[in-house]
């Protein structure tokens, strides 16, 4: 392990972390602008031109607010909750391949922090940990609405994880690998997995909405029933961390969907570009394409949020257990049969 390797990885981690935070910050702005657009309003336009300084103003406001810790809460866990939410949101980005290896001078630098051979399962594990931030925070608040929200979050997370896992199995049957890098490499050009696994992608996407607590699945923070849900008692930057973690989760799950199903950094005509631009600039264009896909997904997340009303709790459970899980199992069987037939003939 030479020093250059350590420095290289350190820079990569720092850049990914910074970009995640930046995108999360501007997602809050984009959310309000998209909401305004869909509701025929202007949205934030006071801070800076077109209101682009609004996230900074919001951040300063969050930091400056008085911090209130409820007297009857469990102080230590009350503090751990938002930290855990933030941590689990950030660590998933370690296995996502952000671009094909880039050549700078003589060195070829992979744009992926680590290519572990169980990358897909790692993402899945981090997603399943994500609920602890909500659960611990909700319980430690010692507020019955927060507690109800924590319980809802737990059951929702568990229910949709099953369908999510099953939808990935169908994909893995086709790719024969758990490494995200290899999955992306297989989708070279336009051979994107979504063309072969449309049903799997649909299930995965619905589950991603549920796992990130985004509308129409934002029952843990359902304000008409639970005040603010798990973050009712939170104020100042602790609340900010919870809200921020949601946006980072949205960014990461968009990246995962783009990686698994929409070809990652591959795009039609990439070979032509690679041949003409060389090994330094072509990967950067690939990364740009990848981010375009991510932004499209983030926009889609917002579009859905401001279009579809929140589900009722029984509808949520019915959809998860009686629609998505059987559909995912049927998808696995059909995929398996088709693969067997193709291999036979």
């Amino acid at each position: 392990m030479d020093a250059a390797f350590v420095i290289e990885k350190f820079i990569l981690v720092a850049v990914i972390f910074g970009v995640s935070l930046l995108i999360a910050m501007y997602s809050t702005y984009a959310e309000r602008k998209v909401a305004a657009f869909l509701q025929d309003r202007l949205g934030p336009d006071r801070a800076g031109p077109f209101g682009i300084l609004q996230p900074l103003a919001d951040g300063v406001k969050m930091f400056m607010k008085e911090e209130i810790v409820p007297a009857t809460s469990n102080k230590w866990l009350f503090m751990v909750g938002p930290g855990l939410a933030m941590l689990t949101a950030c660590i998933a980005s370690a296995v996502i391949p952000w671009g094909s290896p880039i050549a700078i001078g003589d060195r070829v630098i992979p744009l992926q922090v680590t290519d572990i051979n169980v990358g897909v399962l790692y993402i899945f594990g981090v997603v399943s940990l994500g609920v602890y931030g909500v659960m611990i925070g909700g319980w430690a608040s010692n507020n019955k609405y927060s507690l109800l929200s924590a319980i809802r979050a737990a059951s929702q997370n568990i229910s949709y994880e099953i369908a999510m896992g099953l939808s990935i199995i169908a994909l893995l049957l086709m790719t024969n690998t758990l490494s995200l890098k290899e999955i992306v490499e297989q989708q070279h050009g336009w051979h994107w997995n979504v063309l072969y696994q449309p049903v799997g992608f649909l299930i995965f996407m619905i589950c991603a909405f549920a796992e990130t607590n985004r509308a129409p699945f934002d029952l843990p923070e359902c304000e008409t029933e639970l005040i603010g849900g798990y973050h009712t008692e939170y104020s100042s930057m602790k609340l900010g961390f919870y809200l921020f973690a949601e946006y980072i989760n949205m960014f990461i799950s968009s990246a995962v969907m783009a990686t698994l199903y929409w070809g990652g950094y591959n795009y039609p005509g990439m070979d032509y570009v690679a041949a003409h631009l060389g090994a330094t600039w072509a990967p950067l264009i690939g990364t740009g394409v990848f981010f375009l896909k991510i932004f499209a997904f983030i926009f889609f997340f917002m579009w859905v949020r401001w279009t579809i009303p929140r589900f009722r709790y029984d509808q949520l459970m019915n959809l998860g257990w009686k629609a998505l899980i059987p559909l995912a199992i049927a998808n696995i069987i059909v995929t398996g049969v088709v693969i067997a037939i193709i291999e036979k003939f």
Binding site: L121, G125, L147, A154
Partner: protein
Amino acid sequence: MSTQVFYFVATLSILFSLMVIFAKNPIHSVLYLILTFFTFTVHYVLLNAQFLAVVNFIVYMGAIMVLFLFVLMLLNLNKETEPAKSPLVKIAAAIAGGCLIVTLIGSFKAVSISNPLSLKNPGLGLVENLGKELFGPFLLPFELSSLLLLAAMVGAVILAKKDHTEEA
């Protein structure tokens, strides 16, 4: 390097498992249990069993412990709801625990430290090799255990259904 990491993580495992027992609050117990499982995940990684590590991570830390927490939060246990145990039970527990300690100490004294064991195939824990083992030589036990799980699932569904019709 990896030996030092092992001793560090092993110490943490023991520490957290003790905290599971000594924590007064059941929720804290569960949280320590989650940390214990996390140290187990690290142990699996040290053994180069990446698949087992990540499955332990997903199933135990991510799913089963969430359900534990879920149930404990629903019950909302505290000092008032804790059932008072009779002295007879306490004495019986103390005797049983004492017997266990004596047995454990006796067995530890009998065992000598084993020679370091090296795997023939260090990559055994990787997904590919594990899958080939499970669906090759161990196909029958694997299928039987999956049948067992299926039976448990069907049983759980039937129990849930029965309650439902009685209420209605």
